[in-house]
Symmetry: C2
Subunit: 272 residues, 2 copies
């Protein structure tokens, strides 16, 4: 962890009197805004491309909102860009606040996209899955941070500590790999649950029947080594079951293709 000692005299954005603006009003912006507000930060404005979503978040944060990025108040100290990865570069070009601290919250976008435009910048990527309507306890969410200088990293660390107990320093290369791992562990495993639910609905059941199974699977995976915990017909190379399952999926070629792809990969990995 970097020491703040050298920078203690610096007025920095970890001081809660500083004014923050959120660019974006999606899941990440919502949860980050709510947590910052709870931690005592003052949110000066919410900017979003659609009036609908900026209005909703601004109401929650009790602050003004706009669809025009040029409306960001001149005295803004911290600008947090929490928009789709594809939109970050476009947003960055429109921000004229050269002296503000500018952060993005993307797992995969490099910090260099900011460095070209701002003197003080960094990344604050929360390693979590967010919904607009489900409040998340960010205090136990790992925050991956990177600053464009030692000083800014230290300032960012101090800021991040007001939000979470779990701060990890990760440069752009490392953060990209962690984000990729998170896509497998979160987005893709959720898609597996989604397919399971679709199959169960045909039988007038739902995913709740699998809760004990899902809880045990994740408990073992987090604690130990998921490689050693792999079970199932592909691992055992149970050919009859594999054939039966592929046949059961004949009406959904997409799910059938996924079943085959994953089973083949598992078989290959565990072949004696």
């Amino acid at each position: 962890m970097l020491s703040l000692t050298a920078f203690e005299h610096v007025i920095n954005f970890s001081e809660m009197s500083q004014k923050a603006v959120l660019v974006g009003a999606g899941n990440v912006a919502t949860q980050l805004g709510l947590t910052m507000s709870k931690a005592g930060y003052s949110i000066g404005m919410v900017i979003s491309k659609t009036s609908k979503s900026s209005t909703v978040l601004a109401k929650k944060l009790n602050c003004p909102h706009s669809t025009n990025i040029h409306d960001i108040p001149l005295d803004t100290d911290i600008i947090i860009i929490a928009v789709n990865d594809d939109a970050i570069a476009t947003v960055v070009k429109k921000i004229k606040h050269k002296s503000a601290h500018v952060l993005h919250t993307s797992g995969t976008t490099e910090m260099s996209v900011l460095k070209k435009h701002f003197k003080n910048c960094g990344v604050l990527y929360p390693l979590q899955t967010f919904s607009k309507d489900i409040a998340i306890d960010l205090t136990s969410t790992p925050l991956l941070i990177e600053g464009n200088s030692k000083k800014n990293t230290a300032i960012l660390t101090h800021f991040a500590k007001n939000i979470s107990k779990h701060i990890i320093f990760a440069d752009s290369k490392k953060r990209k790999e962690i984000h990729l791992a998170a896509v497998f562990a979160c987005n893709f495993s959720n898609y597996m649950y989604s397919i399971a639910n679709t199959i169960l609905k045909k039988e007038k059941l739902d995913i709740s029947i699998l809760s004990a199974l899902i809880e045990e699977t994740t408990k073992k995976a987090i604690k130990g080594n998921p490689e050693l915990q792999q079970t199932g017909p592909a691992k055992r190379n149970d050919k009859i079951t594999l054939k039966t399952h592929i046949n059961l999926l004949k009406k959904n070629k997409d799910y059938q293709h996924i079943y085959k792809t994953l089973s083949q990969s598992i078989e290959k990995k565990y072949k004696k």
Copy 2:
């Protein structure tokens, strides 16, 4: 739930004085044997194709063991076949105990494989993932049961209730679909954790960094509707991130292919 009233006079294998034999000594046989033993059932023998695994389980259950299926004692009342699905048909042909209750524990194998050979038979499929060395609380594991007659289903229900609080009647067709859903929700999601762990190890990290994320993902999926909780670059159609991730996986064509297959399916499903 079927009523037992009509069968109360029948001597059945839910009475704990009855003698049980386990054919198989893998994960399912181990956990079922341990739970039955704890519930007061007497395990008469463990049969397995290898002496090594039958010895290990027999020691845990304090009973004889053999690699020869013809050694099953003549006075055996319950025979539980817990072997690989592909081996069930072969095992069944070797069992000469025509009057014993014979059960298999497979999710996908139809009960008909037993009906041809035994007067009293059924299926007891525990909807859970098992390891030999991690004890499972079967009392909260759903047991899917099916008997070859009303009487045998009632007897099996009574037996199953001594093992678990969560009994579900499912015929072979329904059980197959539930097993298929379980493969997606358990085996495939574990494989996603396994891939995530491999990626993280390259960065000298491991899957524990993703615990908050994994816990939140599964909590939301079990409670709600995983279709509505989908997040990630494929859902958002974040083309730059998708391209970056595919490029990061260039050294592992297998994982790259899985990433593309799942992302394409998610994109297709959520396309506006």
